[in-house]
Amino acid sequence: MHPPAGQPAAASAAAVTARGAAIAVGGRTLWSGVDLDVPAGEFVAILGPNGVGKSTLIKAVLGLLPLAAGQLEVLGGPPGRASHRIGYLPQRRSFDPGLRVRGVDVVRCGLDGDRWGLPLPGAARFSGRARRAAARVDEVIDLVGAGAYARRPVGQLSGGEQQRLLIAQALVREPELLVLDEPLDSLDLPNQGAVAGLIAAISQAGQVTVLMVAHDVNPILSYLDKVIYIAAGGTVSGTPAEVITSATLSRLYDTPIEVLHTSDGRLVVVGQPEAPAVHTDRHTGIPRP
C-alpha cells in the first residue's frame, strides 16, 4: 500500500514467502498447505483462533522450528539465515516483577546482547563505538516514547510500558522485518490503541516490514495492508475487506461464521472456532467441525 521509495522492486519485493508449508509439533501436523506472501514494507497481520498455530508459524519464520513440508523464504534466504535483520517480539505476559534490570539494559541487549565478551563499564568515555551504541539505544527509546521510565527496573513497569521497551529492543538494530507475536495481548484498551498506533507509525515510516500475530484485528484494522487468516488446512490472505467476510471465513474453517460490522467500524467475528478458553494445551486447538 505504501512501498518505501527506495525499495528495490525485484526479487526482494517479498519479505516472507511460503508455499505449501506444513509444520508438525511432537509428530502431529499443526497446519499444512500454508501459503504466505508478506510484501516488503507492508503491515501484515496473521489472524486465526487461539491454538491454531500462529506462534508456531512465527517460530518457523525465525528459523527456530523446521518445516515438515513445503518452502519458506525469509528476506531472500532460508529461515534463520537473516536473524540479525529481523526484530522479534515474542508473546509473553511480562517480566518478573523482581527482575532488577533497567529497561535501557533490556533495549541494549537487542543491540549487541548476542556478542561474546563482557561490556566494559565506562567504555563510552574512550570508545566511539560504545558512544554510538548508547546514542542509538537512547534514540530508539525516544522513538517509542519510553524515555520517562527507561531507567527504572523493568519488572516494576506496567504492561504497556514494558511492551514499548520491548518494541524498542526489537527495533534497535534497524531490522528490515519486525515480527510481533500478540503485542497487544495483556494490555488494557487505551494501551492497546496506543501501541497499535506506534506499530503502525513505525511501519509507515518506511523501511520496515511488520508481520504481526493477533487474535483481535480491531485495534489494528485501520492500519493494516493485508491480513492472513490461518487454519489447520491452509490460509486465506488479502485486504481486510476481502478476507474478513462471512463467506471467506466460513469456507476456511468449514463452519458457519458470521462477520458483523458495528456502527463504529469494528468487526465482530461470531462462531469462529475457538480453542478451549483455558489454555491447557496451546497445540490442540485445531478448529473443530
Binding site: H84, P90, D96, G110, G117, A148
Partner: protein
C-alpha cells in the same frame, strides 16, 4: 569450632584490641589464617560474580542443590582417601551436568520445569553423604565442618586449586557474559537472535557447580548461600544497573568474608555463622535502604539514591 582452634584462643596474640591495625596483624600472624584469607578472597570474588548471574536467572534452587551435593562429594572423597577438593569439584560438576540434562518445558519461561529433577538430585545427594559419613567410622567430628564450614588447615596447594578453578570459571564468564545476560533476562528473543541459549544454560550450571564447590570449602555445604545469594541479592536491591551491581556484589562478598574470618578468629563460634550473619545483615540493610529510597518519592532514578544512601 575444632579443638585446634580452641587451643589457639588461649594462646598469646588472640585478644581483640581497639587498634584495628594490630588486630589485623594478629590475625595474619598465623599461616593458616593467611591461607584462610587468601581462600576466602578467591571464593568471595568467584561466588559473588557467579551468584549475581544465578539471582538474575532465578536458579537459586539449582545453586542450593549443587551446594548440598558438595557434602557427599567431600565425604565420599575422604572415605576413598582422595583429596576433599576432588570430591567437591567432581560431584558438583557432575550434578550440574545432571540438572542440565533435565528436560526443559517448551514454553521455556523461567526454570520451573527443572525443579522436580533438582529436588530429586538434592535428596539423593544428602542421603549419599549420610551413607558415606556412616561408612567412614570416627569421621563424625568432620561432619560439622563439611556442613557448616571451617577455615582451619587450608593448605597452600588447596589455595592454588581454588585459585585455578576460580580463574577458569571467571574466564568463561568473561567470554560468555553478555550473551548469558541476554539469555537470562530474555531467553526467547535471545534464541531468535541466534544466541545458543541451551548451551549457555549448561555452561552456566557447570560454573554454578564450580562456585558451589568452592564456597562449600569455607562456609560448609549448608551455608553456601551466604556468598552465592546474599551479596548478589543485596547488590541487586541497591541498584538495577548491571554495571554497578556486579562490582557491588563482589565488594559485599569480600567485606562479608573478611569480616567473618576476622571475627571468628577472635571468637569461639564458627566462621560459617559469622559469614552468613554478615551476609544477612548486608541484605537486610540493602532492602531497608531501597524501601527508604522508594518511599522518598518516585524519582526517575531511585537506584542512584539507594546507592548513595
Amino acid at each position: 569450632m575444632t579443638p585446634g582452634a580452641a587451643g589457639l584462643l588461649t594462646g598469646p596474640g588472640t585478644s581483640l584490641t581497639w587498634n584495628i591495625g594490630s588486630d589485623i596483624s594478629q590475625v595474619l600472624a598465623f599461616h593458616f589464617m593467611v591461607n584462610a584469607v587468601r581462600a576466602g578472597t578467591i571464593i568471595a570474588v568467584a561466588a559473588g560474580v557467579i551468584g549475581w548471574f544465578m539471582i538474575l536467572r532465578r536458579q537459586s534452587f539449582a545453586g542450593h542443590t549443587l551446594a548440598v551435593v558438595a557434602f557427599p562429594g567431600a565425604s565420599g572423597a575422604i572415605l576413598l582417601g582422595l583429596p576433599a577438593a576432588a570430591g567437591y569439584f567432581g560431584f558438583c560438576i557432575a550434578a550440574a551436568l545432571l540438572i542440565a540434562a533435565a528436560p526443559r518445558s517448551q514454553a521455556d519461561t523461567g526454570f520451573s520445569a527443572e525443579s522436580a529433577v533438582i529436588g530429586t538430585v538434592q535428596a539423593f545427594a544428602l542421603a549419599c553423604g549420610f551413607l558415606f559419613v556412616s561408612l567412614y567410622k570416627g569421621f563424625l567430628d568432620g561432619i560439622t565442618g563439611l556442613l557448616f564450614g571451617s577455615f582451619l588447615g587450608i593448605t597452600d596447594s588447596q589455595v592454588l586449586t581454588l585459585l585455578a578453578a576460580a580463574a577458569a570459571a571467571l574466564s568463561v564468564l568473561a567470554v560468555t557474559g553478555r550473551p548469558l545476560f541476554f539469555a537470562s533476562t530474555d531467553p526467547d528473543v535471545a534464541a531468535a537472535r541466534g544466541v545458543p541459549v541451551r548451551a549457555l544454560s549448561v555452561v552456566f550450571l557447570v560454573l554454578l557447580g564450580v562456585a558451589a564447590a568452592e564456597v562449600s570449602q569455607i562456609t560448609g555445604a549448608l551455608l553456601v548461600f551466604a556468598l552465592l545469594v546474599m551479596p548478589a541479592a543485596a547488590a541487586q536491591q541497591l541498584t538495577a544497573r548491571p554495571a554497578l551491581s556486579l562490582p557491588l556484589t563482589v565488594i559485599i562478598a569480600l567485606a562479608v568474608t573478611w569480616l567473618g574470618l576476622g571475627v571468628s578468629y577472635f571468637s569461639v563460634y564458627p566462621v560459617g555463622f559469622f559469614v552468613t550473619t554478615f551476609g544477612f545483615a548486608a541484605y537486610v540493610l540493602a532492602v531497608a535502604a531501597r524501601q527508604a529510597a522508594d518511599r522518598l518519592g518516585r524519582r526517575p532514578r531511585p537506584a542512584k539514591i539507594a546507592v548513595s544512601a
